[in-house]
């Protein structure tokens, strides 16, 4: 289907009756996903958002339930996940990361009710990347700037109009019968194909072939002594990463009123694996850095047969000491 740009506003206003809208909103530091009212106050970002779309499904701070303790016992009140959402302008790498988070939080066996409810309630409107950034390497990891994994709809910017690919029933329900859309013609499809080929031609490649097999036997390799050395041990890479999903659970209680919080946590922090005994199985930054690489490129593959990196490039862009995961992967490949 096709929607002309001047009609997008009408489409979004029509959605507001049934959905809350989230879109990339510009902040001082860069765009982040936030609630919006229709078509104003936000814009499709040129590259990617600063924070990934994961925070819409796995918020950095989330109240799981509240409770009151008294002499009569404990009363628990569960936090409820809000209604239906349309998430606008998700790049294909971020959308694909949701399919990986699904394996952890909405897979066989374990179904996290909060995450699952948000996933079921949210329509992901993807936006193809006509101009991938210099730090993008999604194609090396099985993704594509025009990839559809994790999207309910994928929009392709054709200049004065968007080509709309309908990918799921949820996506179909959003656009079906809406007067703003018209059937796509051959010229539209050809224009999108040309943009896709152009985008693919701009992608950098990173040697990830065989990295898993290398990592299977590199746990005790001296390589880690070198690659971690400049790491400061902050959580920027993990917190901006669309696939990092480790969390902490804490109870915060004041005068018998308690809140159970789920908050992001990071393998980069010493406290992450500190035992109650005082022992820490990852005592230095070397072990913590290794864990981040191992989790993405080995353990996740062991568990889910997929690499937990979508090549969005955020860790490269925002690392305060310019640790470049592409260089680390190249070193592992060569190791």
């Amino acid at each position: 289907m096709i929607i002309r740009k001047e009609r997008v506003n009408d489409f979004l206003n029509g959605l507001r009756a049934g959905y809350r809208l989230y879109a990339p909103v510009q902040t001082q530091a860069g765009p982040v996903f936030a609630p919006v009212n229709g078509a104003t106050g936000w814009s499709w970002p040129a590259g990617n958002t600063l924070k990934s779309a994961k925070e819409v499904f796995l918020p950095q701070t989330e109240t799981l339930f509240t409770y009151r303790t008294s002499l009569d016992g404990v009363q628990v009140e569960e936090a409820r996940v809000e209604g239906r959402v349309v998430l606008l302008g998700v790049r294909p790498c971020d959308a694909r990361s949701l399919t990986m988070l699904d394996k952890v939080f909405a897979g066989e066996g374990v179904r996290d009710p909060y995450y699952t409810a948000r996933r079921e309630n949210t329509v992901v409107l993807g936006l193809a990347c006509n101009e991938p950034c210099g730090t993008c390497f999604c194609t090396s990891l099985g993704g594509s700037p025009f990839g559809t994994a994790g999207c309910d709809l994928l929009w392709v910017d054709l200049g004065d109009r968007y080509l709309v690919r309908v990918l799921t029933d949820r996506g179909k329900a959003l656009v079906e019968g809406r007067p703003e859309f018209a059937p796509a013609g051959d010229a539209d499809l050809a224009a999108a194909r040309e943009l896709e080929e152009g985008a693919l031609g701009r992608m950098g490649t990173v040697p990830v072939q065989g990295v898993k097999e290398k990592l299977d036997r590199l746990f005790a390799d001296p390589l880690w002594d070198r690659v971690y050395e400049k790491c400061l041990g902050c959580g920027t890479c993990t917190y901006l990463c669309p696939t990092c999903h480790c969390f902490d659970l804490t109870d915060e209680v004041i005068d018998g009123l308690g809140v159970r919080l789920r908050t992001w946590d990071a393998c980069m922090y010493p406290l992450f694996t500190l035992h109650a005994s005082g022992h820490n199985p990852r005592p230095t930054q070397k072990e913590r850095f290794r864990q981040r690489i191992m989790h993405k490129f080995k353990y996740f593959v062991d568990n889910f047969r997929e690499t937990a990196c979508v090549g969005c490039g955020r860790c490269i862009r925002y690392c305060p000491v310019n640790i470049d995961i592409r260089a680390v992967l190249a070193e592992i490949s060569a190791g």
């Binding site: 701070t61 210099g134 902050c234 917190y239 902490d248 919080l261 908050t263 000491v321």
Partner: protein
Amino acid sequence: MGTTEKIREIAAGLLRDGKVDVVIGYGPGTLPLRSTPLFARTVEEAERLIWDATCGNNLAVYLPGRKDRVGIVVKGCDSRAVVQLIHENQIAREQVFVIGVPCAGIIDRRQVEAAVEREIRAAREEGAELVVEGDGWSRRFNREEVLYGACRTCRHNNPVLYDALAGEPLPPRDGGPTLVEIWEKKPAGERRDFILSEMARCIRCYACRNACPMCYCTECFVDSSTPRWLGRATDAGENLFFQIGRVLHLAGRCVACGACSRACPMDIKLGLLLGKMNKDVLELFGHEAGLNPEEPPALNAFRPDDPETFLLGK
């Protein structure tokens, strides 16, 4: 001989003569306008050291607790951190060979990125100009105009402590009022609103803390679980509590290098809070951290005429 060549020569000499085990300097980054810390352990590795206006990281962050002998490349601000770390017994003076670099200021890449509004694919310095290029475009900046705010008003651009100097000392700057001096004149409500809006962005990645050479506590108060000083929720209040705790802990110790602000992925103006603290310490105790290897830090010294305005009844 350029600064880069001079650094390489000094570093290679130190490593060849076995005077140090490692030289910590800067190497080329993988992105435009970025350099990256480089740990050179051989003469060959020393050949990869560079110096340019992207060498922003304060490498003194890698010093606390080291057991080896280390050569380190420092700017004026970084050298103050080395002095302060020696004061605080985090590294021994004889353990460190300080390679000082007179610094003409570091380029604020976010400022450049915001000005061009497009992806920068390459950047280089040409004399007093910075040239940035993207796909089919290029733009020139007056280098001086795209420096970090703290660099534009820096009064300590020459290293205060060094064993070898890579380059000629530069004239000290007098860049006019600092950001703190401008900011502290604003009404209290405006300052409070600004700080809270900055803190609301914080994602508690602790890049500020970890990039800071003075934040070397084995266990930071934010990581303490018994007792838990700080809630885990990421909201403006908890975030502000973290930053206030950090700023107070750095009283009389912050060397104003700006590493915290530069490391922050959310571009939070941390330098304002720390700058204000530094200004207060200077006005109250006449002390600036890390400037003088002979002078004890403000919190280590007591003078009978120290102001005690914090005491009740004063």
